[in-house]
């Protein structure tokens, strides 16, 4: 037998590996456009969060229907990839079902399980397509999903349906050939699910069946490899990034805003408080708040690349629910789009961050960030602990501290606070007046 298929297989593997390597480098560099931030304390809690939220999909189960459909896909993905191991071995060694002799009856059971999951994945992809395109679930119809994001979502589901169909076709034709005692095919135990589609191919000639079986085999494995590269361009990256993303979750109370120590020094000086290390020159401050992705932390950018645009955040955002422009999902998509733009520009020898554009202004408007009530509904809703609020608040800092561009009513509030230590215009000497009435009242 010719070793040509093996050579072709090795070449395909190599090319895939090369593209994947390049893409991983690209993504890594883009994520590192964000500022350094250490978020690796409390390791035990981080592993636990990752195990529960990413691996265990804890937060998905707040909504049962999509959670169950997603769980089918997820388990299918994890388990069917075990079969891909055998595909790779067969491809490299030029063998056919190399693991079958070693596993005996277990092999048939395993293949049956894989087929069961393949059918599960197939059906849930169909259900998810129906949710998007027939039922038109509201969170999938928002303006930020128009164009590529909608196509991306549909492509992923269609590709998975096609890949799963390939597995079933392959097994069905394989067993038909085995029954006709064509080498190297051999009879496994009865395969229930591919058995159901066998009648379709029964009338095929042996040559056609061999062709079909080989086509399905190659289609499945090459499909998976192409899909792996595709994922790195797609919102589907969450299948990998959900894990580091949850590991780097914010473990502090959600209400706590990150302190700006670079401001504290100046505040202490203004208030005449001796500072701790006056001899040290102040660290390079750069910019207050965030105007572009390099002002955000790398975890913010990792969040953006981990987002699969499910829109649970936006569907629970009080601003979005009442028709404001703000959509937390769009904030995450904008961060990612800007990171991609800067990354592509850098790779092309372009100006990168210095292209005259910025995240705030060219992607995200003040109207959007000003509409946020900082209620944390988006953070709570995210199945993988993405934090859009952190990004919004950093941008507000930029607008207030670098541009003095906050809404006029906020500027009045600032002024009140500066002069009378209250957001309202009351005299601070009247602050205790509320007690007069109650102090006169007889205690019951």
């Amino acid at each position: 037998m010719s070793s040509l298929p093996q050579v072709v297989f090795v070449l395909i593997l190599g090319v895939t590996g090369f593209f994947l390597f390049k893409r991983v480098k690209f993504l890594q560099r883009n994520i590192r456009l964000g500022k350094a931030a250490t978020q690796n304390d409390q390791q035990a809690d981080r592993w636990k969060t990752m195990a529960l939220v990413a691996f265990g999909q804890q937060k998905m189960f707040k909504r049962w229907v999509p959670a169950l459909l997603h769980a089918l896909l997820y388990v299918g993905f994890l388990v069917i990839n075990l079969e891909v191991l055998e595909f790779v071995l067969d491809g490299l060694l030029g063998t056919h079902r190399v693991l079958a002799p070693f596993l005996g009856g277990v092999y048939t059971v395993a293949i049956t399980v894989f087929e069961f999951l393949a059918v599960g994945v197939l059906l849930s992809c169909v259900a998810l397509l129906i949710r998007r395109h027939v039922l038109k679930v509201e969170r999938f119809t928002k303006p930020e999903l128009k164009g590529w994001p909608a196509l991306d979502a549909t492509l992923i589901l269609v590709i998975e349906i096609v890949l799963m169909s390939a597995i079933l076709t392959m097994n069905a034709s394989d067993q038909l050939l085995a029954a006709r005692e064509v080498a190297p095919y051999f009879v496994l135990g009865p395969l229930f699910f591919s058995g159901l589609v066998q009648p379709i191919f029964e009338g095929f000639s042996t040559e056609s069946l061999v062709l079909l079986e080989r086509f399905a085999w190659w289609f499945h494995i090459v499909g998976i490899l192409v899909f792996a590269v595709y994922v790195t361009y797609s919102k589907h990256l969450h299948i990998f990034l959900a894990f580091p993303n949850t590991w780097y979750s914010n473990l502090k109370p959600k209400g706590e805003m990150v302190n700006m120590p670079e401001v504290t020094q100046e505040v202490n000086m203004m208030l005449g408080i001796p500072t701790e290390s006056p001899s040290e020159p102040p660290a390079e401050i750069g910019r207050f708040g965030a105007k572009d992705i390099n002002d955000l932390s790398w975890v913010n950018v990792l969040n953006a690349y981990s987002c699969t645009e499910c829109g649970r955040c936006t569907s629970e955002c009080p601003a979005n629910l009442t028709g404001k422009k703000l959509s937390p999902r769009k904030i995450m998509m904008d961060v990612r789009d800007r990171a991609e733009e800067v990354g592509n520009s850098l790779d092309a020898g372009g100006p990168g961050l210095a292209d005259g554009k910025s995240l705030l202004g060219d992607y995200i408007s003040k109207e959007e960030i000003n509409a946020c009530t900082s209620c944390n509904a988006c953070v709570e809703a995210c199945p993988i602990n993405i934090d859009p609020l952190s990004i919004i608040l950093q941008m507000r800092r930029y607008v207030a501290m670098e541009e003095s561009g906050s809404p006029a009513q906020w500027n009045s509030m600032f002024q009140n606070m500066e002069t009378s230590f209250s957001p309202w215009k009351f005299s601070s000497s009247d602050r205790f007046n509320w007690s007069e009435k109650v102090k006169e009242e007889e205690m019951k």
Binding site: K254, E266, R396, W410, M417, M443
Partner: protein, 263 residues
């Protein structure tokens, strides 16, 4: 019979006394016409249970929360550092406040600036009083058997994970607690957080407090209980907007309890 006492930290310090707890009143608690009643109700409860407490009075300043959330970190820290200096000078150990925004800021954000205190929200404080049997509930009162719904404030709930204490306080009264469709972790904001209290909302098709009030009214409750001054304002405005102020009232937990105690 004596009158209610509202000692200040300065007065107590002058008598070499240290109260067990500082009651942080907050700006709404000091200045908002409607919300002052909540401050007064809470002070009455503190008096009634014989709690050793004091307030900062004129020495209190805004925690800086709205400035920080509107992006003005410098102004926030000016307020925070000044407050911390005052509190540390009085050697404050424990703080109780009725405002979830003050609660969140002092509890979570002051430590980074040198202010370390045990901070509890008045819902937790009231729950403790009930659990310890320190308050005598009449069980009758105007709320007896009535439907009450509780509106979760974001800075108490999602921001700090306090969901049950306010509900326990309500359940201690002889009332029927009914939940809104969106409650606890899924509670819908009243629309005032993140410094929205101090500006008009961005253009949209509806105000957030109207959306939330509609949800509260849908429970059929005659009382909407809140644990936050901003929520109180927003929900009260919502009820007025729906012309329901005649049959639906918006009250704070402290007012509920004080009324039930007959004070």
């Amino acid at each position: 019979m004596s009158t209610y006492q509202v000692p200040t930290m300065a007065e107590m310090a002058a008598n070499s006394q240290t109260p067990e707890v500082l009651f942080w009143v907050g700006c709404a608690g000091s200045f908002d016409e409607r919300y002052k009643a909540v401050t007064q109700a809470f002070v009455k409860i503190l008096n009634k249970v014989g709690m050793s407490f004091a307030v900062l009075g004129p020495e209190e300043a805004c925690t800086g929360d709205p400035a920080r959330r509107a992006g003005n970190e410098f102004l926030f820290q000016m307020q925070a550092v000044a407050n911390i200096q005052v509190m540390n000078a009085y050697e404050v150990k424990k703080v109780v406040t009725a405002c979830p925004h003050c609660f969140n800021t002092i509890k979570n954000e002051y430590p980074a600036l040198g202010g370390n205190y045990e901070v509890i929200h008045h819902s937790e404080f009231l729950q403790q009083l009930i659990n310890e049997g320190k308050v005598t509930l009449q069980g009758g009162g105007e709320f007896k058997g009535k439907k009450i719904t509780f509106h979760d404030s974001c800075y108490l709930g999602r921001a700090n994970g306090v969901y049950e204490a306010p509900r326990e306080v309500i359940k201690a009264l002889d009332v029927e607690l009914v939940e809104m469709k969106r409650c606890r972790t899924k509670g819908l904001c009243c629309g005032a957080g993140g410094a929205q209290m101090f500006k008009e909302p961005e253009p949209g098709k509806k105000d957030i407090n109207i959306e939330r009030t509609e949800e509260a009214l849908a429970t059929g409750a005659s009382t909407i209980a809140v644990g936050c001054p901003f929520c109180l304002t927003m929900m009260t405005d919502g009820v007025k907007n729906k012309n329901r102020e005649a049959d639906v009232q918006v009250v704070d937990l402290a007012e509920l309890l004080a009324k039930d105690m007959g004070i």
